[in-house]
C-alpha cells in the first residue's frame, strides 16, 4: 500500500481573477469560492479572508482546519464523508504545504471551538498561527444548535473540507517541489533486517464520547462511537479516511489537518527499518461507560498481541474522563507484555496543583506530556477579529467565561482576552507537533 504526497509550498495567498498556484503564490477567486461554498443551502452568510503569520489577526470561534489537497485519480479527499466511499491510503495526491483552510463561526461558538492568533504571544500556542490560512467565516441555518454549548458544526465542517478540496484542485496538474512516499509492507512480509527490530503499533484514541450522532470523529464517514478497535494502515489516516469531530475542549482536539499530517505517524515511518518495525495503527476510540472503555482496551491489547507487537504508542484526544480510556489502554497493553509509551496533555488546574490525569497507574512509566489545558493566558488585543470574539465568553467555549470575580470577563473591553489554554485551537498538538512539556515546580 503506497501513498505518494507531492508537496507545493505556499509562501503567500492572495485574492484574484482565477484560482491558481504560481511560484509559491496561491491566488483564489473569492466570489467563485464563496459561490461554491453557498451551494450548501445551510450556509446563510459567508466571507473569505487570508490570515498569515505576523498578521494582527485573532480568529474565534474556529471550528476546523483542513489541508488543501487534490487526488490525482479524481477521487474525493475524504471518502465516505465528502465523496464516494472508496479505500484511502494508496495512489498519489498533491498537497499545499504551510497552508490550511480554517472555518470560523460568524457569530456562534461552543465548547469545541477555539481561538487562533496570527501574531503576538498567542501565535505560538496553535500550529495554525504559523501557517498561511484561507479563512472561511460563515453562519448557517442550523437554528437548533445556535445556543447550544455542544455544536455539531456540521455545515461549517463540511464547508471546510469542501473548500480544501476546491482550493487544492489548482495544483492537480502541476509538478510538486518534492514528494513524500509512504509504503508499509504487509505486516508478515518484511525484510529480515526489519523483522529483527522491535515491532511497534500506534494506538490512536480519537474523541468519540458523544452518544448522540453527528459530533464524533469519523472513519470513512462512520461514527467511531459505533466501532470497536480495528487495524488500519497509517496511509489511510494520512489520506483522509479519518475526519475530525466536534466534541471536546479544543486544546486537546485533533483537527482533520492534524490527521492528514500526523507527525507521530511520520516519525514512526521515519524510524521504520532503522530502529523499529512499524506494524501499523490500531484505531481505537474513547468511550463513556466503563465496560465500553474496558472492551476497547481488551481489543487493542489483543490486536497488538496477535500482530506480535513488542511496543506500542497510545495517543489520547482529550483529557478528563477519557484519561480513564488512555490509562486503561496503556495498562492493558503493559499487562499483555507490550512496552508502551503514552502521548497526551494534562489538566493540573490554574494553580497547577491538581492530579494531572484523572486516573493514574504506575504501569504508565513512559509518558510524553504535551501541555496543560488549564494554563491561564492573557493575550493583547488584535487589530482584526475574524468571527465574533464575544463567543469566547458568551457561548461556553471551554477556556472562556462571561465573568469572574477575580479575573473579570474573558473578553475585555479593549479587545484583549484572558482565557485558559483550553480554548486554544488544537493547542496541545498531541499528535506530535508540541514543543511544550510539563514540569514539576
Amino acid at each position: 500500500m503506497k501513498l505518494e504526497i507531492g508537496n507545493f509550498y505556499v509562501k503567500d495567498i492572495t485574492f484574484g481573477k482565477e484560482l491558481k498556484f504560481d511560484n509559491g503564490v496561491l491566488t483564489i477567486n473569492k466570489e467563485e469560492a464563496l459561490a461554491f461554498i453557498k451551494e450548501d443551502e445551510r450556509i446563510t452568510e459567508a466571507d473569505l479572508y487570508i490570515a498569515k503569520p505576523g498578521d494582527k489577526i485573532r480568529m474565534c470561534p474556529v471550528k476546523e482546519a483542513v489541508e488543501p489537497r487534490v487526488r490525482l485519480d479524481g477521487r474525493g479527499l475524504f471518502p465516505g464523508y465528502e465523496g464516494e466511499l472508496v479505500r484511502a491510503g494508496e495512489g498519489t495526491l498533491h498537497a499545499m504545504k504551510n497552508c490550511s483552510v480554517l472555518v470560523v463561526g460568524r457569530h456562534w461558538g461552543g465548547f469545541q471551538d477555539g481561538v487562533i492568533d496570527m501574531s503576538g504571544e498567542g501565535q505560538k500556542y496553535t500550529y495554525f498561527g504559523g501557517l498561511n490560512n484561507i479563512v472561511l467565516v460563515a453562519d448557517t441555518n442550523e437554528e437548533f444548535e445556535k445556543r447550544e454549548q455542544q455544536k455539531k458544526n456540521d455545515a461549517l465542517r463540511h464547508a471546510a473540507h469542501r473548500l480544501a478540496e476546491f482550493v487544492g484542485k489548482c495544483v492537480k496538474d502541476l509538478k510538486p517541489e518534492d514528494t513524500e512516499s509512504y509504503e508499509l509492507e504487509p505486516a508478515i512480509k518484511r525484510d529480515p533486517k526489519t523483522e529483527k527490530l522491535p515491532s511497534v503499533v500506534f494506538v490512536m484514541q480519537p474523541q468519540t464520547q458523544m452518544e448522540d450522532m453527528g459530533y464524533n470523529t469519523l472513519a470513512y464517514g462512520w461514527d467511531m462511537n459505533h466501532m470497536l478497535p480495528t487495524y488500519m494502515n497509517p496511509n489511510e489516516v494520512l489520506d483522509g479516511a479519518i475526519v475530525s469531530g466536534s466534541f471536546m475542549p479544543v486544546a486537546a482536539k485533533w483537527s482533520t489537518y492534524d490527521y492528514q499530517n500526523c507527525p507521530a505517524i511520520k516519525a514512526l515511518y521515519r524510524e521504520h527499518g532503522k530502529t523499529i518495525n512499524f506494524l501499523g495503527i490500531i484505531m481505537s476510540n474513547l468511550n463513556v461507560a466503563l465496560d465500553q472503555k474496558e472492551r476497547s482496551a481488551i481489543y487493542v491489547a489483543q490486536i497488538a498481541n496477535s500482530l506480535g507487537a513488542d511496543g506500542a504508542v497510545v495517543a489520547e484526544e482529550g483529557y478528563g474522563n477519557p484519561d480513564a480510556d488512555y490509562v486503561g489502554c496503556i495498562v492493558a497493553l503493559e499487562d499483555a507484555g507490550v512496552k508502551t509509551v503514552g502521548l497526551s496533555d494534562e489538566c493540573t488546574g490554574r494553580d497547577g496543583m491538581s492530579q494531572p490525569l484523572v486516573t493514574l497507574d504506575e504501569k504508565c512509566d513512559a509518558l510524553v506530556s504535551c501541555g496543560d489545558v488549564s494554563d491561564l493566558l492573557v493575550l493583547p488585543a488584535m487589530e482584526t477579529v475574524l468571527g465574533e470574539l464575544e463567543a469566547l465568553g458568551r457561548d461556553g467555549m471551554a477556556g472562556g467565561w462571561a465573568g469572574d470575580e477575580i479575573l473579570g470577563p474573558s473578553v475585555r473591553e479593549d479587545g484583549s482576552i484572558i482565557m485558559e489554554n483550553n480554548s486554544m485551537f488544537c493547542g496541545d498538538q498531541v499528535l506530535g507537533w508540541s514543543t511544550k512539556t510539563m514540569k514539576a515546580f
Partner: protein, 347 residues
C-alpha cells in the same frame, strides 16, 4: 539594596548546643553565623538574624511564632531565609513553621533548605521552596550557595525554573514549559519508545507517584468477642477543642473518653473540620462519630466491647506524611488495649 532576614537555631546562632535548645527567640540586628556565608553573594543585605532554640519552637510553637512575627512588624524586608537545616529534624520543622507563618503574614517570599530525610520536607514542601540540601553541616557552603542562587532570582524578579533544574523539592505544582531545544512531542515519543524497547534508561515526562497502599486487614472472625475502636478524620471534638486540633492541614490529634457516653450530644461535641458544611455534624456529632450506634450494637451483643476512647483529627489538607505520623502515634494506644478492629470514619 534589597533586604533579607535570616532565621537560624541556637546552635548556628552561637548560643549553644542541645542544652540551649530551649532558648526563646531573639531578633539580632545584623548578621550572625551562616548569615556571613549568605552575605558573600546574596543580592540583598541581611539586616536581622533571628535565633530560636529548636525545642522552644517545637514545644511553644504558637508563642515562638508570635514573638517572631511581632518582632518583624514594621521591619522592611524583601526575602525571608531559614536554615539550611540539613537533616536536623526539629530545626527543619522550625524553619518550615516560621517560613510558612512569615509568608502568610507579610506576603514576602521565603526560602529554606533541608535534606531529603528531614521530616520538614514532607510537612512544608507544598507551602514553600525548600532547597534539597546535604545531610550534615559540613556542607554549609554548598547548601548556602544553592539557596543564594535561587534567592537572587527571587530578589531580581526572575522566574524560578522547574524543581529539578533549580534543585528544590517539587511543591506539587506542574506547569507547562516551552522546550528551549524545540524537540517535538513526536521526536520525544520516538526517543522514549526506542529506549524503552531496548531496555535503556529514559525519563518519563509525567512521573506517576508511587501509591502508598496499605494491605487490607483480614476479616474479624469472631465479632461477638472483638474489641472495636472509633477513629475519625471528621474533626469531632469536645466543644472547647482541648487539643487545639487545626481546622485544616492538621498536625494534631486528640482522644476523648466515651466509656460512659451513650451518644455524642450536640453542644458538648462539635466538628472543627473546615472542609465541609458543619451544620449536620454540629447538630448530631454521631453522624460522623457513631458512638450512639456502637453503644446500641454493644448492648445487643453484636460485638464484644468498645475501646473507651475515640480518636479524632481533621483530614482536609492534611498531608499523607502527617496523617501517617499521627496514625503511628495513635496505634500504640489501640494495641495496648488489644483492639481487634477500627472503624475509620472519614468525611
Amino acid at each position: 539594596m534589597k533586604k533579607a532576614i535570616l532565621y537560624i537555631n541556637q546552635f548556628f546562632g552561637q548560643i549553644g548546643g542541645e542544652d540551649k535548645a530551649d532558648f526563646a527567640p531573639v531578633i539580632r540586628e545584623g548578621k550572625v553565623g551562616p548569615a556571613m556565608e549568605f552575605a558573600k553573594n546574596l543580592q540583598a543585605d541581611i539586616t536581622y538574624t533571628i535565633i530560636c532554640g529548636d525545642n522552644f519552637m517545637g514545644s511553644n510553637t504558637d508563642e515562638a511564632v508570635k514573638t517572631i512575627l511581632d518582632g518583624l512588624e514594621g521591619k522592611d524586608f524583601d526575602l525571608f531565609l531559614a536554615g539550611p537545616a540539613f537533616q536536623a529534624g526539629r530545626y527543619g520543622v522550625a524553619c518550615g513553621t516560621i517560613c510558612k507563618a512569615v509568608k502568610e503574614k507579610f506576603n514576602v517570599p521565603v526560602l529554606t533548605s533541608m535534606n531529603v530525610e528531614n521530616p520538614g520536607v514532607e510537612m512544608f514542601k507544598s507551602n514553600m521552596l525548600i532547597m534539597e540540601g546535604a545531610n550534615i553541616a559540613s556542607h554549609m557552603r554548598k547548601d548556602v550557595a544553592a539557596m543564594v542562587k535561587v534567592a537572587n532570582k527571587i530578589l531580581s524578579g526572575e522566574q524560578v525554573g522547574p524543581a529539578t533544574e533549580e534543585g528544590y523539592f517539587p511543591t506539587g505544582r506542574r506547569k507547562e514549559v516551552w522546550l528551549e531545544d524545540k524537540t517535538t512531542a513526536a521526536d520525544r515519543m520516538i526517543n522514549m519508545l526506542v529506549a524503552k524497547l531496548n531496555g535503556e534508561p529514559f525519563v518519563t515526562e509525567l512521573p506517576i507517584p508511587k501509591p502508598d497502599r496499605v494491605p487490607i486487614a483480614p476479616a474479624i472472625k469472631d465479632l461477638k468477642h472483638a474489641k472495636i475502636a472509633l477513629v475519625t478524620t471528621g474533626g469531632i471534638v469536645p466543644v472547647d477543642n482541648p487539643d487545639k486540633i487545626q481546622s485544616a492541614s492538621a498536625t494534631r490529634w486528640g482522644r476523648y473518653d466515651i466509656s460512659h457516653t451513650m451518644r455524642l450530644e450536640s453542644g458538648v461535641y462539635k466538628t472543627i473540620h473546615a472542609g465541609f458544611d458543619p451544620a449536620a455534624a454540629n447538630d448530631d456529632p454521631n453522624v460522623i462519630t457513631p458512638v450512639d450506634a456502637l453503644q446500641e450494637l454493644l448492648k445487643e451483643g453484636y460485638y464484644g466491647s468498645l475501646h473507651p476512647y475515640f480518636y479524632s483529627t481533621v483530614g482536609t489538607g492534611t498531608t499523607q506524611a502527617e496523617a501517617a505520623r499521627m496514625a503511628n502515634e495513635i496505634v500504640p494506644y489501640l494495641k495496648e488495649d488489644n483492639v481487634d478492629g477500627i472503624i475509620m470514619v472519614s468525611t
